[in-house]
Subunit: 257 residues, 2 copies
C-alpha cells in the first residue's frame, strides 16, 4: 500500500481536485484506492455528494482515545460512483482535533489506522486542510510522498516557501524523509502573471517541481458538480490529459526508488 | 470605529483580496484603516512584502496571557504603501493559538485588544484563515459585520451552507447578532459553471447576498505582486470598479442602521 498526501497551507490551490483526479486515474488502472478526507471543511466528502455535517462517523473516529480496529475502520468507508475508489469521509467534528494536538501520540493516529488496512488498498490519497496543525501533521506522518499543488500566481508562490519550511520542520521531528513534488496548477498561458509565476517556480525549485503543469480547465469544475472524477466526466479534457501525464511521471519515479 | 471581518472556511475564495481591496478604498476616502491579519499563513502580511516567518511580533501577541495595552498594540503596527492604511501582521506562531482555544476568555482576545485602540481607527478589516477554529471565532466575536466571499462555482457553494451554519452557531454562543453579506467573487461570465452557480447563489440566499458580483480580473493578481491595493495599482480596472460599488452598497446599508 502506498500513501500519498496532498497538502499546502495556501487555500484554493487545487488540493482536493488533485487528490480526487489522481484517485480516479489510479482506479482506472485497476488499483484499489482509498480517498481519505482530513479537511474539517469536507470538500472531498461533498464532492461525492455526502454531507460532512450530518455524517455520524468519519475520519474523526481515527483520533479517538480507543483507536479503532480494522473492522471499525471498514465501517467508516463510503462508496463513490467510480469503481475501485472508496471514500473515508470527514466531518466538522475534525475541527476539534486541534485542541487535543498536544496529547501523546496524536500525530500518529492516522498512520496507525492506515497500517490496519494495509492489505485492502493499493493507494491511499489524503486530502488535508489549508492550515498547519495536527491534521496536516497526521497526513505528513502517514505518507511516503507529498504532493504540493501551487497556483501559478504571486500570493500562492509566497506561501510555498513557508510550506517547504514546514515540510522540513515536520520531517525532522518525525525523523523520516518525505519526498515531495511541487505541482503547478491552474496555469493560464494567456496571462502574464501566470507565465511569470511558472518561470519563477521552475527557477526556484528546479529539483522538486514537476516538469509540466495543470492548465486552467472549466471541465474540472463541471466534474465536481457531477460528483465524478475528472477522467470519468471528461476523459479527453485538457485537465484529464495533464493529470494523466502527472500520474505517469509520479509512477515512473516510484519504480526507480 | 467599525470592525468588519472577512471569513469563509473554503480556501482560495478571495478573502485576503477582499480585505485588502476594501481597505485601500476606505483609505482613499480618508478613513483611518487597520488591516488585521489573523491567518497564520499570512497572505495579507506577505501581500505588503513582510515575511510572517521572520516577524518577531505580530497579532499572536494579542493572545498572550498578559493582554497587551494600547502602547504594546501600537508597537505591533506596520506601514503599507497606501496612506491611511496600517497593517497588524500575522506570524506562524498564530498556528499554536488553537491549542489553547479552550482556555478562559480565548474567544474574546481580539475584541478586547481592538477596544483599546478604538479611537485611532475608523475601520478595522480582519482577514481570517480558511478553517473553523479559535482564530475565526475571535474574528467573528470582534466584528459587527461579516463579509463572506464565495467563488461562483460548485465546491465553494457547497461549503457556503456550512459557513452560514457556523455563523449562527457562533453568534448564538456569543449572544450577539452578526450581520453578514455574501459576496460572489471570481465570476467568469464566459463559463456555464460560473453563470449557473451565481444564479443558484441568488436563489438560495436572496436576502443576504450582494446584488452584483466581483468579476475575474487578472489585475488583482498583478496588484498583489506589486504590494499595493487594487485601486492604487489600477484604478479603472473591472475589479476596482466592482469593489467600489460593493463598498458603496455596504456603506449605504450602514447608514440606514
Ligand atoms: N486546473 C483547474 N482549472 C480550473 N479550475 C480548477 C482547477 N483546479 C481546481 N479548480 C477549481 O478551483 C477551486 C479550488 O480547487 P480545490 O477546492 O481543489 O482547492 P483546494 O486547495 O482543495 O481548496 P481548500 O484550500 O479550500 O481545500 C475548485 O472550485 C476547483 O474546481
Ligand atoms: N476577482 C478575482 N479575479 C482574479 N483573481 C482573483 C480574484 N480574487 C482573488 N483572486 C486571486 O485568487 C487567489 C486567491 O485569492 P485570495 O488569496 O484572496 O483568497 P483567500 O480566500 O484569501 O485564500 P486563503 O483561503 O488561502 O486565505 C489570489 O491569487 C488572488 O490574487
Ligand atoms: Mg480542499
Ligand atoms: Mg487569505
Amino acid at each position: 500500500m502506498r500513501v500519498w498526501a496532498v497538502a499546502n497551507q495556501k487555500g484554493g490551490v487545487g488540493k482536493t481536485t488533485t487528490a480526487v483526479t489522481l484517485g480516479g486515474l489510479l482506479a482506472e488502472r485497476k488499483q484499489r484506492v482509498l480517498l481519505l478526507d482530513l479537511d474539517p471543511h469536507g470538500s472531498m466528502t461533498s464532492y461525492f455528494g455526502y454531507d460532512p455535517d450530518t455524517l455520524s462517523q468519519s475520519s474523526f473516529n481515527l483520533f479517538a482515545e480507543q483507536e479503532p480496529d480494522a473492522q471499525a475502520i471498514n465501517a467508516l468507508l463510503l462508496s463513490t460512483p467510480c469503481e475501485g475508489l472508496t471514500l473515508l469521509p470527514s466531518s466538522m467534528a475534525l475541527a476539534t482535533v486541534e485542541r487535543r494536538a498536544a496529547a501523546e501520540g496524536m500525530g500518529l493516529k492516522v498512520s496507525r489506522a492506515l497500517a490496519k488496512v494495509w492489505d485492502q488498498f493499493d493507494y491511499v490519497l489524503i486530502d488535508s486542510p489549508p492550515v498547519l496543525g495536527a491534521l496536516m501533521i497526521n497526513a505528513l506522518a502517514a505518507s511516503e510522498r507529498l504532493l504540493v499543488p501551487v497556483q501559478t500566481e504571486f500570493l500562492a508562490l509566497k506561501g510555498l516557501e513557508r510550506m517547504i519550511r514546514t515540510i522540513s520542520m515536520v520531517t525532522q521531528s518525525l525523523r523520516k524523509d518525505l519526498n515531495y513534488t511541487i505541482i503547478p496548477t491552474m496555469f493560464d498561458r494567456r496571462t502574464q502573471a501566470s507565465v511569470g509565476a511558472l518561470r519563477e517556480l521552475r527557477n526556484t525549485y528546479p529539483n522538486t517541481i514537476w516538469a509540466a503543469m495543470i492548465p486552467v480547465d472549466t471541465r474540472i469544475r463541471d466534474a465536481s458538480r457531477n460528483g465524478v472524477p475528472l477522467s470519468q466526466y471528461s476523459a479527453d479534457s485538457r485537465g484529464a490529459a495533464a493529470y494523466r501525464s502527472l500520474l505517469k511521471s509520479l509512477l515512473s519515479q516510484q519504480d526507480q526508488r
